[in-house]
Amino acid sequence: MHDALWELEAGPDAALPAADLAEERLLRGLRRGDAGAFETLYRRHASSLYGLAMRLTCRASEAEELTQDVFVRAWEHREDFRSLEHFARWLKRVAVNGWINGLRRRRTAAGRPLDEDDGERDAADGAPVTPAGSPGLRLDLERALAALTPRLRAVLLLFDLYGLRHEEIAELLDMTPGASKVQLHRARTRLRETLQ
């Protein structure tokens, strides 16, 4: 609010580089409920979060809903963020959790547990929808990914695209690291078979 005053005041911020200072102000704005700061953060992170959501869900409508859910939850937790890096990590974690939980609810309602991996794509997910107008994407790869079961797809993407370790994947997907390794093996094998 009183940026001019902050500039005048010699405080801890004074020693920070300009970029860090801007980040700190953004974070401070978010914590105190500044909608402008929150929108700035949304604009900054929307594409990466939507990208993750799209990879996980393979459907634009679900990806949009998941992205919105995550940002609404971020607003509710705005006072908890320690840094913008923490904020970015939190978004991804909540997106994966939200997607898994939604999937679990749908499958439970259909009398089919999430852990069931019969090698067939969940019919409840509907036909995979690849991101339209995304240059450089191979549609056969997108289709091969969408043909994986949700859990296999998640493990593969989190490991190979997002660079998470098995321990991190296990924590996110509520499984053991050993199970994550088994799922990665299975996912990579099926992907290669589908692409052949």
Binding site: H2, A46, Q68, W75, S134, Y162, R188
Partner: protein, 213 residues
Amino acid sequence: MTDAPHRNDELLRRWLAGESTETEERELDRAALASPALAAELRAHRRAIAEVRALPRELAPERDLWPEIVRRLPPPRRRFPFAIVAGLAAAAALVVAVRVAEAPREAPLAYAAGDGAPAAPAVELAAYAETGRALAATRDELRRAVAPRLDALPPETRRMVFENLETIDRAIADIEAALVRLPADRELARTYISYREREIALLRQANRLAARL
């Protein structure tokens, strides 16, 4: 040699599971040099994995999701009234700290809150804008007047000025957040304008104090 196929299978299994050590990966590469079938399988896997890794991580949504997010933001929580109370307390503290006898000006800048106050959101938004412009002008005034003499302020007073302004600022931010959710809430609008006025009054008091030094 009789164990080589089994060993190769195990190396490939571990590699596919993402649990190979660097030594094992080198061993797998060496084994592929001696086995065309293994080499072909490894190439196919690596090509597929490379394609996955080359996927863009960022995708722009086809439509702007922000308006829907704003619509879904939850209403203010219980801390909102506490923040207002904190702002009031801070305002009182500042008045004592700077020893300014003059009472804060009560006349609203934008419109008089009363029976005749307009209820249309558009009119209220216009009122916010007017108040905001008044605040900006006062800030500029303060910056010009106080900045050269800031160091002359007693440290405790200076600290209190900034602390109290920050506290009021937080209260204003809470009200703004609530207004995002309830843009046509007349009571909220009055509170918002009231706090904007208080902030302006405090800034003016600080300005006057600095001018006396």
